[in-house]
Symmetry: C2
Subunit: 280 residues, 2 copies
């Protein structure tokens, strides 16, 4: 598989690079971004944090707005940011042109329903195809962590919960914690997975956490002035699931913060240190 | 004068707020952003760094991409980011719709030629009207620093050089150092100021520096892989002027860096500390 480099910018002593490649899993061309800390030029292999962004985002939002490069450079952490859905002229989007489903809103699952099933396989892309590419083309080890925001927080939790042992650590900002029970999740799941709700359970972080056998540690940050907190994000479902199944969830309600990247930038360093501790 | 708050987001323990107000100087409504560190709620007055952005920017670019809030919160520094030109339906832009003149490209000067002279008075807005507003409505002292990027680096240098004593310190990233001698500057100056080149000298940082009597310290960062370095930015003119007139210019050529906000984010902390040292 080949990667086409489309940009290359020095940042905090390392390099922010963007690549385009053909995704076999998604059946389309994809763009992702990678931050390579200065240690990437020293010969060894470095651990990788995969960052999953939220609704409407691309690979660019986190790299431009999170302010994560400085500490990643200090910690020797590679960061990889994929796009949030398959893309391209033949990839169907929301039938009504809405922003909360389809293009920019792939929900990091494998769709089973038409017309989505052909391209919308973001889970397999994020968990398998992209790491294989990253580990083949960059000085990246197989030590992986995963995190994300909102839809991407849901994605990070679900990827970690469905694939025990694949990630050394998982965290999330403002995740859609119980998509079966919120409008964003119900819209996406009913289309991608069909109306049979029992099929939704394997893509819902709170359900998966309540059933997970291996003990799991989770760090979740949530702003208490987040406009989506009550109707869409519902972290209390995650808290109940963790409690019932005996998992170690640290949910930090951050007073005054909203759903924006200003919130992420305020606490990303805590998450980077959390992952670095598990990865090295 | 009244300020209308249009957004308010917690960031790094402080607040990022945006305001709309009527500018008497510019004859239009303007939006600016302010970062208030946590110390702003403690009763005293804090020093202010004015940040001037480059071509095509608004108040948002620096706040979203520079990663400056964390250290500003630590240092107790207010940051104010104005827009880069007058705005509105009756404000003329580039006749050909180009991005390097007019709307988003006011060059921080006072225009003398029609049809620009009515609205394009960004120097007076940045140096006088905006600080008066800021100092009246926020816990801001009259201790001021100024910095900026590209067109805004030119603006920061020129504002400081034309107003000795008004700023405790000045710095710039990738400034248009000698606008009389580059295409961006010549296009803007010939329209805003007319074809008589002798009138341009009072808005050219290198000319002003060569003639400045009071000793001035300047910190300038410049990436050596900046696509605009050779034809537009020309920092060597600034170096020569500083040398000839005996000013203390520290020009740091940063290897590998380009003209983007990744460059600014990589070194903004050095500038914040530089200004904080002069301000407190």
């Amino acid at each position: 598989m080949t990667l086409d480099n489309i940009s290359c910018q020095k940042s905090a002593g390392g390099w922010h690079k963007r690549y385009r490649h053909r995704s076999e899993v998604l059946g389309c061309d994809m763009v992702f971004a990678v931050y390579l800390p200065p240690q990437a030029e020293q010969g060894g292999k470095l651990p990788v944090l995969y960052w999953l962004s939220g609704l409407t985002c691309t690979d660019e939002n986190f790299m431009q707005k999170a302010g994560a490069h400085k500490l990643a450079a200090e910690l020797g952490l590679i960061i990889v940011a994929p796009d949030t859905s398959p893309r391209g002229a033949d990839v169907p989007g929301d039938p009504d042109g809405a922003w909360d489903f389809g293009l920019g809103a792939g929900f990091y699952l494998n769709a089973t329903q038409q017309p989505w099933a052909q391209h919308y396989r973001m889970h397999d892309y994020v968990v398998d195809e992209l790491p294989a590419l990253v580990e083949a083309h960059f000085p990246a080890s197989d030590r992986r962590a995963i995190s994300g925001h909102s839809m991407g927080g849901h994605g990070a939790l679900v990827c970690a919960l469905r694939n025990p042992g694949r990630y050394s650590s998982v965290s999330a900002f403002s995740p859609i914690s119980n998509p079966m029970d919120c409008p964003w999740g119900q819209k996406a799941f009913s289309r991608f997975l069909g109306e049979e709700r029992s099929r939704w359970r394997e893509w819902d972080a709170s359900v998966l956490l309540s059933e997970a056998k291996a003990p799991l540690a989770l760090l979740v940050d949530q702003g208490d002035r987040d406009d989506f907190l009550e109707n869409q994000l519902k972290p209390e479902a995650l808290v109940q699931a963790a409690k019932a199944a005996g998992h170690d969830l640290e949910l930090r309600m951050q007073p005054g913060y909203d759903h924006s990247y200003y919130f992420i930038a305020s606490f990303i360093d805590d998450h980077l240190r959390y992952h670095a501790k598990a990865l090295v």
